[in-house]
Subunit: 538 residues, 2 copies
């Protein structure tokens, strides 16, 4: 059977010396001859492992300051020849097979990271290593290629179990890993050189595919992948309970985590169709959850919700999952948090379809985001900064709650443009999203939507005499602040806001009609603050 | 000066034989010795060019069915040694420099495309080629690496001009190209092997960077790239006039082109904040433009507009760019079309800030789209199919205009969810978007927004006695069709639509409350059609 000859000759040539003595000793004890080069050879010899110097195999000297060490007819033939078809030819040429290559490459990435100049980068382009790895990988039917020290234990175990050689499945897997490794290596070299030339290119690899039930809709196939070699990824989230996460769930989950990420206290965001329809930042988590929910209690059904602090039982009970009257139970798609108290988890698990996701929003720290539009990539820095300044541009200068300012901007930044949100400081100091309008081609629409939402919410919370409802609404609106993701193009938004009771507006400014807007604000004795920073999001 | 020695020895080993005899002849005439292998050597010899067989240089036979041809101490040394530092050593070892490598690789991609099995794929993994290319590229200070036959004329010209060798800038550029080439090659191998293993991975390369003025907002840096080796890309659009395209422009432009792409007659889409706020498909382009504009005449200002047919002067005149009264001029960001009549172009160029983009929407045929969410990739088929069926589920079965059905679904598919649109067949047979609502967490909001928009538009077009306005609106709404991108979760949307005058609703169906919705429709004697296909878009 192919490849079931024992491993007899091994070539080791590694930059990453982790685990090398142990692996070398294992191979030596298994009766293998170990051929090696330079530093690798020294580490092995220091561990008392006999090593054949590679020059005795290549028949050539190490030359040109180490640029030529392994590349030779002898080595690559030993890796490449077909153990069946080419057996006689190999024997005639005096080529002895090499059955296992353990090799990783010059540390181009490390050298790059420490800001090396082009000459040092060039010296750190490995030529012999990729040749050996690729030759061995091509001949995976017979040859084992190991490029990652983390694989040594697995390979040793496999060799032990299989009586002296790896099995073909393992070799095939290692071959794939080898070509991924050389692809990464040359990708990094190409990108680095292009960058140095002032013509930056981008290369991305995605791995660990998982088939989603479908894409945004059932007639679209959907997949999820992890960015290769990324230190962290939303992909790494842990699903503690519930059925598989869908494509749309992932989009909403990202939005939910992004929204609560920057909240300072205990926060809760409720996402529906990628927009936060409820948001609160405060002290008591259960209360925060209730206030977020109150932002749009109809839309909150079937939403995706994230918390930025460990979730307590008291918080989860707001969902009334154990209510006898099923209509009392609040169904949501996902609850995500950095942790869940054990009783909270038990409580949530009552609902078999609810996904419980463990992921700390603080981990969401991307530095860029990207959009694909027909074989074109749009690449940009993420929108992290909240504001440039707090500039009162109106005659009236009502004091602004700094925390509310941050909160309102976090909310409006997350909404699809054109976006308006109205936020308030509650009596206990919590910040609450009272109403939002988003995704409109015309800013007036968004303003109207946010006001209508506020009015409904205020009506719902009002418990007094109906004849004073309007006064209550006007009073509460007067205490809230309206945030706009971009400037008001016309004074109409000011008038609509005023009529609704709003007395303070925060927007970036920057319109050619700013003066008209300010004039209207002054006329109505409102406060207008310019932040200097727009937050379009599409 | 480094590298200004003439090119004396050349190594040619190519799979793609295009232009080979011409380049070989040029090099021979320039006094170069040409070393070559196998098929390349035959092509050169057939063209009467003297060739040194590579075996006379390597000192080794071609072995193992061609697996070993070039890899040798002699060849890679000749490419890699430092022409200054290693000069004496090279002479002592009898290594003569090779100054130019012309090499491209086994046709792995072609073999893959024709559905080769794993064994054939493996045989088409080139080992010697990448080694030569990478060695030569590493030593670009002295060695020229040519991997692309399309570069032969440039290289010949460069050699001629520079008196027998390429200049260092050219060699650096060719080095970058070489590493991009080997990166592509191993990326394709890795992806192919992973795919065959049933664990597909993805690798993308983007090139041709252009710095955008900024990203979605001015505090975000923005870049645009082209997908490497893509046969077509939105990146390839031609800007005939106007200032640079911005990040947000590109997003809207893509939306505009996607929207008109599938329209059968002459179409026009008007995009604001990524959503179509105006859309028409009809016979006369000027009229179509006017009707699209009428969909939301306020939002249309500053929009991005696409046509699917060559644009005429008559059409462009609707913008009134030459109006003495500046308020009559309609400012839009971009006009895109597959072609522009010369007079139309001249007319449009009056506005210095208007971008005129040449791109045929029919080219927008992506098979997938992707979203990035914190080092995670969501990948899906594009939403191309419009409907599964036309199923009357109501007792009333008013006939549906098939073209209007298609048109309404094209519009609603393009709107951000939750999306509702109301579309009509005009008297002359044109289809027009009468009003839309989108981007809402709650479907009722979208329904209300679309109705409000329709009412405003109908009011604007009505020229009769004001006392009959409401009757007019009711009549026109009754002739229109309401499209929903997803099912109605509750009958409330039906009631709201009915009150607004709507008598026909098209939606995918699939809610657990479909029966309640159908009951309400029947009660109100409306027509309800299920398409079976949802069109969420976020």
């Amino acid at each position: 059977m192919k490849g079931q000859k024992k491993i007899e000759r091994v070539l080791m040539s590694v930059t990453d010396k982790r685990g090398l003595p142990e692996f070398g000793k294992f191979l030596h004890d298994a009766g293998c001859e170990i051929i090696s080069t330079g530093g690798t050879r020294h580490v092995l010899m220091d561990a008392g492992i006999p090593v054949t110097e590679i020059q005795t195999v290549t028949g050539n000297p190490e030359a040109f300051g180490g640029r030529m060490k392994t590349i030779s007819f002898a080595i690559e033939s030993a890796l490449l020849f077909d153990r069946e078809k080419d057996k006689v030819e190999a024997e005639a040429l005096g080529i002895q097979p090499i059955d296992l290559v353990v090799c990783n490459l010059y540390p181009f990435e490390m050298v790059k990271k420490r800001g090396a100049d082009i000459q040092e980068l060039i010296e750190n382009i490995d030529i012999g290593g990729p040749t050996m790895i690729r030759a061995a990988a091509k001949n995976y039917q017979w040859v084992t290629t190991v490029v990652d020290p983390d694989d040594y234990p697995m390979v040793m175990e496999n060799i032990s179990k299989r009586g002296g050689n790896t099995d073909i499945e393992t070799r095939f897997k290692l071959m794939r890993k080898a070509f991924n490794y050389t692809a990464d290596y040359d990708s990094l070299i190409a990108v680095t050189m292009d960058e140095r030339a002032g013509e930056p290119t981008l290369r991305f690899a995605y791995e660990k595919p998982e088939v989603l039930r479908y894409g945004e809709n059932s007639h679209q196939k959907g997949m999820i992948y992890r960015l290769r070699n990324a230190p962290d990824s939303l992909y790494d989230m842990e699903i503690l309970h519930g059925k598989k996460i869908s494509y749309n769930n992932m989009v909403d989950l990202y939005g939910a985590l992004e929204t609560v990420r920057d909240l300072k206290r205990t926060g809760c965001a409720i996402i529906k169709h990628a927009n936060p329809c409820g948001l609160c930042d405060g002290s008591d988590q259960r209360e925060v959850f209730e206030k977020a929910w109150a932002g749009d209690p109809v839309s909150a059904f079937g939403s995706v919700i994230a918390f930025n602090k460990p979730v307590t039982l008291e918080t989860t009970k707001f969902l009334h999952l154990d209510a006898k009257d099923k209509s009392q139970r609040k169904f949501v798609e996902i609850l995500a948090a950095p942790a869940f108290d054990e009783p909270a988890l038990d409580y949530l698990k009552q609902h078999k379809n609810l996904r419980i996701v463990l992921f700390d929003p603080a981990r969401i720290q991307p530095t860029y985001d990207m959009k694909f539009i027909y074989n074109t990539l749009l690449y940009q820095d993420t929108d992290r900064q909240l504001l440039e300044k707090v500039e009162y541009v109106s005659q009236k200068k009502a004091p602004v709650d700094e925390g509310l300012m941050q909160f309102g901007l976090i909310a409006v930044r997350q909404l699809k443009s054109n976006a308006i949100c109205i936020a308030r400081r509650c009596e206990n100091g919590d910040y609450q999203l009272l109403g939002m309008g988003c995704g409109q081609p015309n800013r007036v629409n968004s303003t109207q939507l946010s006001i209508a939402r506020c009015r409904e919410n205020l009506k719902a919370e009002y418990q007094g005499n109906p004849q004073y409802l309007e006064a209550y609404i006007q009073q509460k609106m007067g205490e809230a602040v309206l945030f706009s993701d971009a400037f008001f193009p016309f004074p109409d938004n000011v008038e609509i806001s005023y009529e609704a009771g709003i007395r303070m507006i925060v927007q970036p400014g920057g319109s050619i009609r700013d003066m008209d807007v300010i004039k209207k604000v002054d006329e109505l004795e409102m406060t207008l603050i310019f932040t200097g920073l727009r937050h379009f999001k599409h």
